[in-house]
Each structure stands twice: as structure tokens, then as C-alpha cells.
Amino acid sequence: MQRLATTITATLALAAIALQAQAQGADVPGVTNTEIKVGSFGPLTGPVYIYGKLTMNGVEVYFNKLNQAGGVHGRKLVLVREDDLCKPEGAIAAVKKLVHEHKVFAIIGGGCSNSTLAARPDIEKEHVPFHVFAAVADGIVDPPAPNIYTTQITASIESKAQIQWAIDKGAKKLAIIAQHDAWGRARYEPMIQDFKRRGIQVVADEEVTVDQNDGTAQALKLKAAGADAIMLLGYPKPAAVVIRDSIKIGYKPLWVGQTAIQDLPALQALIGINGALADFVSITTVPGHPDNPQYAEWRKLLKDTFPNDDLSVFNLMGIAAAEVFVKVLEAAGKDLTREKFLAAYNTIDNFKSSIYPGPITCKGGHKCNESPAFVKLENNNVVFAGTAALK
């Protein structure tokens, strides 16, 4: 009789615990005992789909690998994607859909700066944790919002680092060539401010467009201004065109690029002239080229899941962001809530990511990646060129 009573009591206790756990899981959006639903938004279609689709593919590959190893505290991660078309209205709709329809626990995403900026008020209002994986505009995390963190180096940090690098290398006449779209202005304006702060007058300020097919006029004007270092704020195509046409007219300044043109072998291939990047450095998100042996495992995992993809910097950006995101999830513990998750960002202090070149620190700030590293091309290999100590 006593044994029966003990068994019933134990069963009831276990059932109560299970029900409580289930109830607890039900209270937290997107979290059950077996899975955590994570949302993502960014361009999946349209001209700049690479910043969304390919980065999300990277996140998914990381999640898949983690899920095969048992997940986070026994819960599998499920990625839900929404296409924002790189448009403000698209991002606002995507966030609303992720929060209210898919009821995700958190969001890891933000492919385009302007659309992510537009979605920020809704993300703040919904209190959904948001981890930025690609967008670089400072306004996404500055002024800080309690639920938004980024592991991407922001535009202002990159722009300052570009100037610092040129000055450190002894450049006296600095010039800018920039795209003036939303992406370009997010970098151009902080760069102009930093030039003013330093009391430097640029000798030339030229413009390129994303579909530029010839940069001779720009190259001629930069050369005529006598610029010895050029801050290049453009995508790979305009960057390749301007460098190619500078070489064509016999002009070889120091080129200082940023993360949009960090895939140096790809840039070299676009320019097509041997030794074209002899005087070129770029800020990097990823210290090595995607073809390097260190990424062999990711290359294979990506191919298994997305046979059309060749591992790219964008995939690696997703993998790198996902690695930190998961680190925070682990630190938040088994009894997961959004509050615990956001608090866990404070435990990320000097985290050595397997992909980001510098340490990741979210403790005390929302810009977790403030270590711009530079790479250059030597014998067609991407090598570490140094860092710029921001002043």
C-alpha cells in the first residue's frame, strides 16, 4: 500500500514538473522543450539577395551542425526566414510576421542597413532579441536598444579604421571614392565626420554607382588631385572597375577598402590584371579566404545543404554570427527566457570566435565587434596585414 502511494506521488510529481516545464515553455515565444524557433530577415530575392540569402544559409548550416550534436540544452534550433527585399517596408512586414505569425524566440538577421534601420522601432517595441548578422549602419545599435546587438563591425568603425590605416602608412593626400546609395552613405557620412574631426581636407571626393562599367573619369580625377591614398567605399564591381581603370592610366595609389570588398581573390579575378592588388588592403570580417583549408568543414556542410552555393564570405558571416548567438543561448541556461537571453550577452567578453578575426565583447556595449583587422593579397593568398588602432 505504501509502495503504491509512493509510486502515485512520484508519478504525480513528475507530471506536475513536466506540465510546469511545458507551461514555462509555452510562456516564452518560440520555445518548447524540444526546439527554439529563431527568425531571420534580409533579402532572399532582388539584386542584393547575397546579404540575406547567403548569410542565412550560413546560419542554417551552423544550426544544422549544432542540432546534429544535440542542440542547445537539448533543444534544436529552427530557422524561419522572411524576405525583406532589402526594402524598409519589407523589413517592417518581415519583423511583424516573424513575431506575430511565426512567434519566434529571437531574430538573427538584418542583411541591409536601410531596411534594418526601418525595422528597428518595431523590433524595440516587440522586445524580441535581435542579433544583427550583416547590416552595418550604426543607427541599428546606436543609441543602444536593450534587445539589439551586433557582431558585424559597424560602418563608422570601418570608416575610421580606413582613415587611420592610410595615416599610419604615411599618406598625406587622402581621397574618397564612394557609392552614394543608402549603403554607401552609412559609411561616407561617418568618414566625412572623422576627416573633419582630424582637420583633414580630402583632395578628391568622387562617386561611383553599383553598376559602374567604367571608372576612367574617376581615376583621372583622383590622379589629377595627386591623391596618394584612396578610401574605397564601394561594392566589388565598382571597386574592380575603378582599380582596373586606374592601372590603365598608370595610377597606383594605396587603396583602402572595407568589408564589402574583403574577398581579395574574387576582386583580383574581377579586375583581371596580374598584381592589381599590390597596393590594396581591406578590412575583413573573415581573416582567411573561403577557399582556405581552415574552412573545409564549412565548405562541405554548406554543399551538403545548399548544393548551388560555393562557400563565400557571406556564408561565413552567417556562420560567425550564429556561433556567437549560440554561445549566448548556451549562457542563458536551460530555463530560457528572452530576459535571460539578453542578460547573457553581458557574459560575452573577449570571446574568441572561430571565424571573426578579433575578440567579440558584448559586455557593456551593443557593438560586439570593434576590432577591425586588415588583409592583403600576397602571391594570390589572403594574408593578415595588421590592425588600425583607432584614435
Partner: protein
């Protein structure tokens, strides 16, 4: 003076780009009175097919070029059969709208097939990538290839429309489809071959220009706008006009960027279209349609 020489030389070679695109637009318009708004995407398809053959599969350049042109020709036939023929009976405006749809479909296919290969795909040049010296200026050798191709395509098309029966059928169909039908011409078939020839020219342009424009699913749009500006300026029905328009547009862009500001460079094409539509509605070498009453 050196700057002026460079700007003129670059204007000429860039103008050849636009002329090559404009030629394809003119062929289709000359025969069907339709501006094929998917022309830029056919350019992209040609370039991507050549990339698949040459870079991915290792097929030599010339067979890759021919395969890409043939592939674009087939895509031209398919688009006419699937998208344009069924709406032709509702008028040319319906066909125009259908070309917009085809443009989006081709871009989507491009992103699906080649979208994961990187942001911009590099295509190796047919000739040395090093620039060549002419007097005191340097020109990219691939740009000279495009210039040569423009001259060849223009000459071939001129002969085709003046000397061949098929060319004359196309012009007759464009001039008066009903009369052409009464004369026994199968105008649906002529339209089909017109779109296919236009696509083949776009495909050839895609391959020849790929080392300079690079390849990505959206490469065609801006080139289409530039090609359209060149065609409107030169006269939408004139093959030499397309070439003249292309060269003038290239020169205008370079001079504006060199002597005014680089921010104006891309605006020039739109200004040219507006200028031509207001002051030169038939273009520089276009023919005003005459109708006897």
C-alpha cells in the same frame, strides 16, 4: 589634353558597349514594333551560359561563345512561344507588358541557378587583360574586342535586312502585319525568329562584354537602360543609328563625369532619353513612318 584624349577614347569604347546592346533592341523593334524589356536579361542569360560552359565546365572560349549564343537564341524562341504569342492578339501593349514579366522570370532563374556562386562572377577576357598603348593613352584590349564586334554585328545586320529574304520579310511584317499576312507571310513565325535573333545578339553581347561588366543576375538592367537610351537617340528603327547613339551616349557620359562631376555619369542616359523623346522623337537616323490616306 591627356585627360580629354582618355575621356574620348573611353567614351568610344564604352559607347560600343551600349551600341551592342542597342543593336539587339533595334532588331526586335524594327520587326515587331515592340521594345523587348527583357533584353537586358537575355544579355545576362548569354553571359551566364558562357560562364557555365567556359569557366565551370572548361569548354574552350569559341565553342562556349557559340553555345551561349545558341542558348540565347533558344530562350528567345521559348519566350516568344510561351509568353508573347498568346498575348499578341490583344495588341502590342500586351506584348510589352509580357516582356516585363519575362524579365523578372529570367532574373529569378538567374538568381536560382547562378546566385550562390558569389556576388559578381569574373569571366576571363578573350585577349590579354593588360591594357594596350595607343600614342600616349592606354585602352583595355577587351574593349577593342567589343568595338570590333559592334562593327561586325552592325555590318551583318545591315546585310541581313537589305539582302536576305528573311530580313525583308521581317521589315514587311513590321511595316504592315496585315498586308504581310495577305501576302502569305506567317507573321507569328517571323515574330518568333525576330525575338530569337534579338536574343542571340544579346547573348553574344553578354559573352563579349562579360570580362568588363562581370556577371550577376541583375547585370542586364542598367545596360538595357543605356542601350535603350542609345537606341532612342539613334532612332529605334536604325541600325547605324543604334551605333551612333551608343557612341554619343558613351562620350556624353565620360565628358560629364570628367569635366562636371562623377555623380552625373549615370544620369546622362536618362537625360538623353528625355532629350530625344522631346526634341528628336524619331532619333538621329530613325525614319518617320509615312502613311498615305
Amino acid at each position: 589634353m591627356l585627360m580629354f584624349s582618355y575621356l574620348m577614347a573611353t567614351g568610344l569604347t564604352t559607347g560600343a558597349f551600349y551600341a551592342l546592346v542597342a543593336l539587339g533592341i533595334v532588331i526586335v523593334y524594327k520587326s515587331t514594333q515592340v521594345v523587348n524589356l527583357a533584353h537586358g536579361e537575355l544579355f545576362m542569360v548569354g553571359g551566364m551560359l558562357a560562364y557555365t560552359c567556359h569557366v565551370m565546365a572548361g569548354v574552350p572560349y569559341l565553342p562556349s561563345l557559340l553555345l551561349a549564343v545558341a542558348g540565347a537564341f533558344v530562350v528567345g524562341i521559348l519566350t516568344e512561344r510561351v509568353a508573347y504569342r498568346s498575348v499578341l492578339k490583344h495588341g502590342l501593349a500586351s506584348v510589352l507588358v509580357a516582356t516585363i514579366g519575362v524579365s523578372f522570370v529570367l532574373k529569378g532563374i538567374g538568381r536560382y541557378i547562378w546566385g550562390g556562386k558569389g556576388d559578381y562572377l569574373a569571366f576571363p577576357p578573350i585577349v590579354s587583360p593588360e591594357p594596350l598603348q595607343f600614342g600616349n593613352i592606354m585602352i583595355m584590349s577587351q574593349q577593342l574586342v567589343v568595338l570590333l564586334a559592334v562593327i561586325m554585328v552592325m555590318a551583318a545586320l545591315g546585310l541581313f535586312f537589305k539582302r536576305t529574304r528573311a530580313g525583308k520579310w521581317m521589315q514587311a511584317t513590321a511595316s504592315n502585319p496585315r498586308a504581310a499576312r495577305l501576302c502569305g507571310l506567317r507573321i507569328e513565325r517571323i515574330y518568333m525568329y525576330t525575338f530569337a535573333v534579338g536574343a542571340a545578339v544579346a547573348g553574344a553581347a553578354g559573352v563579349l562584354m562579360a570580362p568588363l561588366t562581370h556577371l550577376y543576375p541583375d547585370v542586364g538592367f542598367v545596360l538595357f537602360i543605356k542601350g535603350m537610351a542609345a537606341a532612342v537617340l539613334g532612332g529605334l528603327t536604325s541600325i547605324p543609328g543604334a551605333v551612333l547613339g551608343g557612341v554619343l551616349l558613351g562620350l556624353a557620359e565620360q565628358l560629364a563625369a570628367g569635366y562636371l562631376h562623377s555623380s552625373i555619369q549615370d544620369v546622362v542616359a536618362f537625360l538623353v532619353i528625355m532629350f530625344a523623346l522631346i526634341f528628336l522623337p524619331t532619333g538621329l537616323l530613325g525614319v518617320r513612318g509615312l502613311r498615305k490616306v
